[in-house]
């Protein structure tokens, strides 16, 4: 994948300090993870690797990721109060410094989200200047950022659902940019990236297909760019 940098990534994001990679980028990872979980998780465990794990306290990396998981954007002035807000909402949270390996980007976070019915892990790296990439979902390698919308479907390897999903998407006249299907053991992730935004109607239809474990989407952030 070629990185696509918008000038609003270069001059931006509009954010609350102190660090673009350790605060704003971290918040974006949380925001995408939250979109992938689709509802507010009841419990989150956040692992911080490399530079994230070393200096998270001074950069409020922990608070920023939690803020993202609470659906707060990086320009929200309440970002540094995310722990209090999580307590009020009775969301359980915990943090851990860890080492995910030498080849992992130094600003990486592995987020485990769960509620009574599901558990999803999302790994993302903050690549500098507030930009981030999601690199794994449920241990399966993926690669997408905030510049396109991504539909994510986890399904059983025994079922072929690609053509049904494509039918649902083409009905909507979306422009498909990329399709990816990483797998792990008997599970497959089907990722479809588009230029437009997905909506819940698509998810409802996909959930009716056989073998689907969960389906969700992460929409791109150009709306965020339009606000500021």
């Amino acid at each position: 994948m070629i990185e696509t940098w918008s000038i609003f990534d270069v001059i931006g994001p509009v954010m609350v300090g102190p660090s673009s990679s350790h605060t704003a980028g971290a918040c974006f990872i949380g925001l995408i993870a939250r979109q992938i979980f689709h509802t507010e998780p009841k419990k989150v465990h956040i692992k911080l690797h490399g530079s994230f794990g070393e200096v998270f306290r001074g950069h409020s990396t922990d608070k920023a990721i939690l803020a993202g998981l609470l659906n707060m954007p990086p320009y929200d002035l309440n970002l540094s109060k995310s722990m209090e807000i999580a307590n009020e909402k009775k969301m359980q949270y915990s943090f851990e410094s860890c080492n995910l390996g030498a080849n992992v980007h130094p600003n990486t976070s592995l987020i485990e989200m769960s509620n009574a019915t599901k558990k999803i892990t999302v790994q993302g790296e903050s690549i500098g200047g507030g930009k981030c990439k999601i690199t794994a979902i449920d241990k399966m390698p993926v690669l997408f950022g905030s510049e396109k919308s991504c539909l994510i479907i986890k399904h059983d390897i025994a079922y072929q659902i690609l053509s049904d999903v494509l039918n649902i998407i083409t009905e909507k006249k979306y422009h498909i940019m990329e399709v990816d299907t990483p797998c792990y053991k008997d599970r497959v992730l089907l990722l479809i990236m588009i230029r437009e935004n997905f909506d819940d109607e698509v998810i409802k239809k996909i959930n009716k297909l056989p073998g689907v474990i969960w389906a969700s989407y992460s929409n791109h952030f150009s709306n965020y760019n339009q606000k500021y």
Binding site: V10, G12, V16, V55, P106, Y228
Partner: protein
Amino acid sequence: MSKQFFSAKKLLKLIKEEKKTIADLVIESENELTLRSKTEIRENMKKRLIIMKESIERGLKGHKSVSGMIGKEGLKLLNCVEDKNMVCSKMQLKAASYAVAVMTCNTSLGRIVAAPTAGASGILPGLIFAYLEEKKLDIEIGVDALLTAAGIGLIIANKSTFSAAQAGCQAEIGTASAMGAAALSYMREMSAEACIDSAGLALKNMLGLACDPVGGLVEIPCVKRNAFGISHAFMASDMVYAGIKSVIPFDEIIMALNDIGRSMSVRIKETAQGGLATTLTGKKLGLPFLKNGKNNKTVE
């Protein structure tokens, strides 16, 4: 033909062929990438410039940083702008004081525009607003200057990184300084080639800069480094104005930045495990903010 550019070489080629400014081409390439209208792109950039101005104003009020180590630096500099005993020019002092003000706004958890990162967010607002005020120019020229800077930033983003954790401070203050030098040269009505040359000179002298912040906080040395980044941009722009060129082309300087970034130890790449962070004083001040208060050997 595509208006996307991933190198200074391609950008200069497009400028020559189409007889346009860097700012025009930046808008066209953004329009191609995101399909947003050119007016909308310009308006959004202007909004960001206005947020930059608000950060300067907030910073000059002198809010204390999270750790308490930083506070009134911007105001102190601004008070000396008219002082005849200062050796820097009035414009330069003003730009430096604004840059430091934005950084104090950032460290006291105020709202800023990362340009290109939060740790280097003072340089562009400082340069642009000091120049506009001193020369009594319209804000629209500032928008064009910001777009010119964005063009330089895009080239670096596509060929390298803005992440100090990956390539040290040269990727943050170095990049911002290069972007600022181009913006300054644009406002002085110098050619596109001169803008890129100024950026090259500024970046070249920032190569090898370590990221070793005390306690891992974006405070020491980051805040004051923004003022020095301003000096680099001024000197680079003046040198090019005097007819000096950057011998190494801009694209090759970025390759040098990557090479040096790779050879740097992780201790001096935003981990607070080396350099200033592990000096006697750095350790004493920074320890409470680090993971388990753990730290490496002290440098004596």
